[in-house]
């Protein structure tokens, strides 16, 4: 017997494994608990530290006697800066993770991700266009609505990118995954070239704004921006309820999904609009944050399985946990400065992505 053959014999075989999934309610409750814990930790850490003991008073749960002079400062920090930022991080994480899970279901590929295939870049390019042109004489009439224009531009950019990708990858009702991914890379390159051109044209302030989009940051999160994300996230999560069964059946292929009663074209349209809306809004709030959409659904599939009925809500929760954690790190590890969150997610996500690729080739065991 050769050395390779004996090594193969010692390797545990998949055939002998039996899998039982943990109960859905238990998974969701655990994730909710972890999210609450992550949020509490995030509340206490930052440039102005708020110890756990002062947190209830700062949150207004009770009034201290005698009044701690630091409480009013804590309250200001928490309610004006930290809570909207944590809420925005949680919701953006949910949007990115759920849009990744939907895109992977739609294209039957665990490597599909809005950031990887240029949907985020398309959104960032559209946002950069809005930054540069609404600030010039060309867009003078639109300047008054810049706050609304940026999210809208990012959404339209993401939608346009997704539609173009879909049109390129789809021939005679069949979607070619290889063409989709390659076209996504090409579109991301075009969008990045466009952003480069806009950087060249931009003045100093515009340049800073564009850099914000490219590296991703939640430092600009406010209650007003949080109020924009919340309804989109709520609507998207409700809409997800209608597509979970279709996404499960789409895993069998478009023909099998049709044979099983799925209106495949309608499902694709809904999924594309959802992915574009969620990515667009996320990009408009915090710029391009990559790899959350790949890492979160993949980790969850290992534990709870690929059924979208549980995968989508669980992705929303784990995405929130991941981004709250990443944002806490981003604003503390180089304090008083802030590290762009996109750097952190890429630093963790890219090696994870490579490990997934290697694992698929059977080179390493993850």
């Amino acid at each position: 017997m050769t050395a390779q053959a004996s090594a193969d014999l010692k390797r545990p075989t998949h055939r002998a494994r039996h899998f039982t999934r943990p109960p859905a309610s238990l998974v969701l409750i655990c994730l909710l608990g972890v999210l609450a814990g992550a949020a509490i930790i995030a509340l206490t850490f930052g440039a102005a530290g708020i110890p756990l003991a002062r947190l209830p008073a700062a949150l207004g749960f009770w009034t201290e006697h005698p009044v701690n002079p630091l409480t009013s400062r804590d309250q200001l920090v928490l309610w004006s800066i930290r809570i909207p930022r944590i809420a925005a991080a949680a919701m953006v994480g949910s949007l990115l993770a759920v849009s990744g899970a939907i895109m992977q279901g739609l294209f039957r590929n665990p490597l599909a991700d809005p950031a990887l295939v240029g949907v985020s870049s398309g959104g960032a390019f559209a946002a950069a266009v809005a930054i540069v042109f609404t600030d010039s004489q060309l867009g003078e009439s639109l300047r008054f609505m810049q706050n609304e224009l940026l999210p809208l531009s990012a959404f339209v950019g993401s939608l346009a990118t997704t539609v173009i990708l879909y049109a390129i990858a789809n021939r005679a009702g069949r979607t070619s995954i290889a063409i989709f991914l390659l076209a996504g890379l090409a579109i991301a390159a075009i969008a990045n070239a466009g952003i480069g051109l806009l950087v060249f044209m931009a003045d100093d302030r515009q340049l800073r704004d564009i850099t914000f989009w490219m590296l991703g940051s939640l430092s600009g999160a406010t209650w007003a921006k949080t109020a924009v994300i919340a309804p989109v996230l709520a609507a998207a999560l409700i809409a997800c309820l209608w597509i979970t069964r279709g996404l499960d059946l789409l895993v069998l292929g478009e023909a099998e999904a049709f044979h099983s009663g799925v209106d495949v074209e309608r499902l694709k349209r809904i999924s594309i609009v959802l992915v574009s809306a969620m990515t667009g809004v996320a990009v408009s709030i915090c710029g391009v944050v990559g790899f959350v959409g790949i890492v979160v659904p993949h980790l969850l599939r290992l534990v709870i399985g690929p059924a979208h009925r549980l995968l989508l809500p669980a992705s929303a929760l784990l995405g929130a946990i991941l981004l709250v954690g990443a944002d806490t790190l981003a604003r503390t590890i180089v304090a008083p400065a802030e590290m762009p969150i996109g750097i952190l997610t890429a630093a963790v996500g890219a090696p994870f992505f490579l490990a997934m690729l290697l694992r698929q080739r059977g080179l390493v065991s993850l």
């Binding site: 998949h14 494994r17 039982t20 069998l252 023909a255 099998e256 044979h259 009663g261 209106d263």
Partner: protein, 275 residues
Amino acid sequence: MAIGGVTLVDGIDLSVSGGEMIAIVGPNGAGKSTLLRLLSGDISAASGDIRLKQRDLRAYSSRQLALHRAMLSQHVSVTFPFTVEEIVHMGAGDQGRAAAEPLVEAALDEAGLSDFRHRKLPTLSGGEQQRAHFARVLVQLACGEAIHGPGLLLLDEPTSSLDLRHQIDLVETARRRAAKGTAVVAILHDLNLAVRFADRIVVLHRGRKVADDVPAKTVTDDLIRKVFEIEARVQRHSDGTPLLLPQLMTAIEARFPETSCAETERSEPWSSSGT
């Protein structure tokens, strides 16, 4: 039905009654899978019409259609690690998990997969995966039949990855469904299997129907020669059932004489005028 200017199936007139099991046979590229896709509503015919329970197939929504017919495709690949049980449950459509449980149990049992229910589908062999998808289709059929009565079961080469035992099991299961009123149409490559289980055998050749009759009348030396280009001596059981033995088959020599490379280049056989 034509794709890219090539006619795949043409002038086929076929009717299937409830309780009947039909085997579609023919050489590669004869249009068998295209015909099944037409019958499933997956693709539409350029001309002519297809009716299911007296109603034009195009008038059904995909959801309604799934309650009247179930189809097992030739190849189904699953990227994500669903377990066998989850795959079979997918056949139950909108039915609640509890309501579908007895149907799923029965289908797993019929497909011989009860012990495999918690295994991840991508880790199973090709034959085991094919049986899991067959079980899923059985659940879909049972769910539809519970509402609308006997339906249509379409099987595209359902035995292609199965061993002998499971080939027989699968076709016997389909036969049992037919006995309960389901109309079954299956593409089969094994003529002996088709002869044993089918009420009628439909033979396709170059997109056209060349025979449609009971097995004893369909499977003849002459038909095998014309359609499959095989010299065969069809044996007969005492009851007249045909039997094909590989030992009694010989491929007919290539119709085109072999030519040298130079001759091939000169004659340009792939140009549109040359073929």
